[in-house]
Symmetry: C2
Subunit: 264 residues, 2 copies
């Protein structure tokens, strides 16, 4: 089975990393729409336009038979648009994250950290509400640049995490919530998972990359779909930057990135 994995940048490679461990036999096509990133600061109309053209590329031009939207912003703001634009099954990280939160939470109160646009879309709140959960979401716009600067275990990053997570708990407490689960609502955040878990040991941390890979692996298994274990990478901007930065997110070397022009 040929699986298309889409993100605005390299963050979705954390999802591909998890997929390669859980379903290594499938064929993967990864597209990072790096010329138009970050989606997180843009409007819904713009994000939907970008995401649909990216989905078209993966399905129509590259033959993907299953589409993983490994971008929280696009999943939050453009999932219906993408599902309407392509004829293959589409799975977004927001719904898999909400499913995992439902399975993990005993109190029914869930916290989410994400980019500005994901939070403003309230997509996690809506997906969690459908599953009987109460949710409090907080935007943490400094975490992506800190990860991209490579300051994964840096004292400044620990301080920023402490500030954001302390504010998050205070704000949830003020709303009389008793959260026991924290969803990492951005594909960059799995690289900070250990530090986050250390700061909030009382919360179960849901890594959307891992839980999305689990759901894809289960779908593949159900369909008894196999493949040749190929991987292809596409980026809409500098392939050198994609390769250099992407290696950190994928956790292994990235060979043969192809530049593709989706307009814009």
């Amino acid at each position: 089975m040929k699986i298309g994995v889409f993100d605005s940048g390299v963050g979705g490679l954390t999802v591909l990393h998890a997929l390669l461990r859980q379903a290594p036999q499938a064929d993967y096509i990864y597209l990072g729409d790096t010329a138009r990133l970050p989606y997180g600061s843009k409007s819904q109309a713009t994000i939907a336009r970008y995401a649909v053209s990216s989905a078209h590329f993966l399905v129509e031009e590259q033959g993907a038979e299953f589409l993983v939207i490994a971008c929280n912003t696009a999943s939050a703001l453009a999932l219906d648009a993408i599902k309407g634009a392509v004829s293959v099954p589409v799975l977004g990280v927001v719904e898999t994250g909400a499913n995992a939160a439902r399975a993990a939470s005993a109190s029914g109160d869930v916290l989410v950290i994400a980019t500005d646009a994901t939070v403003q879309s309230h997509a996690y709140s809506a997906a969690c509400r459908e599953r009987g959960l109460r949710t409090y979401e907080k935007a943490c716009p400094l975490l992506v640049p800190l990860v991209e600067e490579g300051w994964i275990t840096h004292p400044v990053t620990q301080e920023v995490l402490r500030i954001y997570l302390s504010e998050l708990k205070q704000e949830a407490g003020a709303m009389q919530m008793s959260p026991d689960t924290l969803v990492l609502g951005c594909t960059h955040y799995p690289l900070l998972r250990d530090q986050i878990a250390h700061i909030v040991p009382d919360l179960k941390v849901i890594d959307s990359a891992c839980v999305t890979a689990e759901q894809v692996a289960s779908t593949i298994h159900d369909k008894k779909a196999t493949g040749n274990g190929t991987r292809r990478f596409f980026a809409t901007d500098s392939i050198e930057k994609f390769r250099a930065m992407g290696t950190r997110f994928l956790g292994e070397a990235i060979d043969g990135v192809t530049l593709v022009d989706l307009g814009g």
Copy 2:
């Protein structure tokens, strides 16, 4: 005289802020290409394509008679492309910054802080070399997100500034330089000018927004050009975000932002 001011986002409003103080009688058209920001992480080809389409909009559709490229990344990577694409005078913040550094430096050794793409272009080094200066440039990719988070006087920002500026001085010292001048090579940085000057009191801090405005005001004065003091604002993404964030950069309320689609 109708002056077009262009930036990838709201940062260039620090240049407009300086322009409004130094040449309030001119007519200003500001374009923030917010749908395609940030330019700082993109390749030269992509940046040139975006900047030329933005310049076309300001000159051909809006009638700008003078173009200020209030975006260090576009000035560094696309100034020649822009000058080749429009028929009006074009002034970029890199050349005005280099002029001011030449006037300020006694030792001839100049430091520059900027985004990744500006530094990798070595445009400041080239412009300073033409003026007989030695330059050391450092990318400080966390400063833009910290300013946009509103953490202008936050302890985390002070710590990040101390780290970047201390590394900058060490790296320049290892190259046997004796710098006496620091150019703020990004239009977001003027908001951090006071903190930066406090951390490096031995350096003259060049604020490219101020020095660009001085040069434009001088050109207007030479041409005895007047105007009606009008201001128009255009953005390629959410006008609400542009207005909200832009007010901080312009230092006054922004009325009547128009959404424009430049493609992409």
